[in-house]
Amino acid sequence: MNMKCIHISLLIGLFLLNASASGADEEADFISILKSNAGVPAKCAACFQLRRVGTSRSVPALARLLGQERLSHAARHALEGMPHPEAGAALRQALGESSGLIKAGLIDSLGWRAEPEAVPLLIPLLSDEDATIAAAAATSLGRIGGAEAVAALGALRNVARAGVPSSVQEALLKCAERLHAAGDEAGAVSVYLDVIEDPVSTPIRVAAWLGLALSDGARRIGLITTALSGTDRPIQRSALKLIRTGEHPRVLQACLRQWASLPADSQLALLDAYLMQDATTALPAIRFAMNSRHLPVRVAAWEALADVDDPSSIPALARAAADGDAMEQEAARDSLSRVHGPGARAAILAHLDRAEPQHKAELLRALGERGDRATAKVLLHYAAAEAETVRLAALESLRKLALPEALTPLLALAARPMSAAERKPFMRTLYAVTAASPDRDQATRSVIGAFDRFPKEGRRGLLPLLGSLGTSAALEPVLVALDDPDAELVKEAVRVLGQWPTAAPAAELLELARKAPGSTLQILALRACIQVVGKEPDTAVRLGLLKESLSIARRDEEKKQALGQIGLIPTPAALETAVEALADPNLSDEASLAVLSIAEKLADAYPELVKRAATLVLAQCERPDLVERARALCGLRSP
């Protein structure tokens, strides 16, 4: 093992033990590594540890490394972070004995330590021939600050040397920030004015402008209002960001006075700034914004109204929602659905009476969006309105809310004479209400009770309501409808029964399929029967009904539908039925699919039966995916 490996091993050991060792012991160990002939990695690692635990005792050993190319950085890292004045002194001492990048690094570390003692050493370096060193000195002087540093930096702020002026001006900005933070606004303003007089770049100009606007109370309003309405885009963008902080109320007020002359993005920023304040303060700005000639600003105003608790804005929101540009409509509608605070709901209801039909519709729509369940009476009132837009909006909200107490009044409204097109939205709403009804028996009684009040052509629409309720009492009138002379009513009844939540109507549908005089009705009934049979929990009963369906089906379509249901019954009897169907070449794919679906579920319990069934599938079926599944059940590898 060579010496380098020994030292690294020692260091790792020390590192692992450092939790138990005392700080002084650790430090001594690391110092001894620095003094040894250990390799660069080991010495650097020791420096890194001394950053954490080193005291003034470590400084001499570290200082000796500052001039060495591969060790200087690690030693500097240790010394830079030590809160001991000896560390700073060592770095300053090394400054005079170094050059190039090592010196630039030392300068950087002195800047971070921010000890005033470094300033006299750094100032001459601003004029160093090496631009890297001069720029580093500027940066460090900026971090340390103080009158001496400011004066030196100020004197050199425009010296034309690659990379240096930007570092000098950036350092001046930092110095000014420090002066401002310390309460010396005049000092800060003086520095900013110097920089802004001849900035080295646009970013520096922007930063100096910003600093000036923040520091100079006398100029602030003029600077910002000019920037916001002006054409200097970099400065204007900075002003936009500044104003959004909302931290200068007098500036905001001054800008608001110039509202009409501001471009869209300035108005928007001003509105944002006011929204940082309380609602009362923000309202005047929002009112300006509502009437802005700029679309984005109006959109922002409508958006903002959602949160300012201002009931008086409801009429304007309704107007914007009804009549505005598409973006305005979207924003206003969203706000109408969200506006809250005391009086918001009352304001909506109060304005409903006075509003134009289109605006009324927006308010009614908002009541539904708001999930306001106490508004059933109002919505029902407007559901009977003459104006179609109002009526539809009320019904849409009633549909969204699906309030049980609205069922009977809605049935009464829908029972009135009207066209089928007019009745459709009522029935849609009624469907939502019945589907959400917590007391299904009571709802069933209400719907059945409405049958006689509905005009004949409207009764058809009641059947889906009964279907959605799915109670035993609801089934009876739908079954009765199967015998009605109105053919369309019968078809609707068949459709509803096919979607019944239980298999209760299966037998009646099968009977109808057998006896129905017209082939269309027979097919519909058979399809509905097969559909609803799938809800029969007893698999034997289900299979029996499906076998009957298969036996009376005349068309392949219904046979395929039945096979699809049989494939979901995982019993040997169902498998047998499906296997029998394999003989029909028109059904071979569907029968194969049913056989395989069942067989895959029975494979563990009935391996031989399954294998036989799968073998039959292989003999009948050519569909590649099904052949693959059948081969798998037969234990055959893919060809």
Partner: protein, 441 residues
Amino acid sequence: MKTRWSETRRCFLRRSGAVLGAAWALPTAIPASALGRNGLPAPSERIRMGFIGLGGQGSGHLLGGAWTYVPGGYVGRNDVQVLAVCDVRRERRDRARQRCHQMYAQKFGKADYRGVQAYNDFRKLLARPDIDAVLIALPYHWAAPLAIRAMRAGKDVYCEKPIAITLRQGRQLLETADRYSRIYQAGMQQRSEYGGRFRIACDWVRNGRIGRLKEVYAYRKPGAFFPSAWTSDRSVPVPAGFDWDLWLGPLPWRPFAGQAGHTLPGLFIGDVNWSPHHYDIIQWTLDPDPAAPIDVEYDKNDNVHYHYANGVVVHSTAYPGEPIGSDGGACFVGTEGRIAVDRAHLVSTPGSILKQALRPEDSRVAHATSHSGNFLECIRTRRATVCSPPVAVYTMNAILVGGICLALKRAVTWDPVKGEFPGDQEANRLLSYSARPPWRI
């Protein structure tokens, strides 16, 4: 509190920003006559961008890809014009430039399009006054130094995580963004993407749907820059076309040893790569007082537990028995239930918690549905992004503070206002590291 007001408002003013977003260079909406070829915004209205770092993340942002959130990447957007790409690996920058040229040749109908420059040295890219914004996707140690340099050069910045590797870098990032009035978006995109799952979790927890928030499980350890080796003597030949010295940048010099990915082995303790996603969502939901101290406790299993001033405890571990949360997420536990969220899942216990919609009077956090879209919109409006420097640095600080706790294997207390560990000299020495010259920031 003002900052909370601000964020609440911002989410409802999102449409106006999008409308205003139609105009970038001009203060009002674009007239049809200003539109360029094929109805695209004219070049002067597009945001002109440079891409620095063209590995998986950077090229994904630039060109699109499986994980990215904008089909076709930035180069496919009509409101962006990519002017430059930059990488210390020649093959990466050349490939990216070639792909950009292909895309633009097709888009603009100019077969010989050559408007994208490729750079090895980012300083040349940053010196271009015609570039408005840069996207930075670099090894961890370069993220903050380069973002700071870019902002000093007057560029707006989108920066991939981890956005800083020391607490001092975070402070400088904040100062620079303020000083130069720059727009900055941190690449913690969970605030915007993934179908809004994280935003919903945040809104529900903040509005008390799980009762009073008690604990949060982060499913991920924090981390910090804490090298197990400062340098090394291992060496292999540097591949042709790879600028190893520039890759290293401010890190201590070492010979190339064949490893130069997201970072070098052994430079960090804990996790600084994925933890930003987890801890960002946690800070967002927790809504802590940004001025209040945080106590971080260390346990014998090498986990940390953050004790926030509002009484919430954040654990670096997983919630026992809850698998959802490991993919960038967290589990929030309240007095009346819990919500677990990650990139693909959002669940509550009991399940009814998430079925209750927000009411009109409930607060909402900032709403963005595209992280890159939010960045570009904020460049135009000069609004703060959803992951602005104060937000991103607060999260990164939490991670780095936890990492220092892991490094020291003991409890620490962090004072975010002073930016230090009060009275804890050992921890304070880990606030920063010295950069290799000339890469000072």
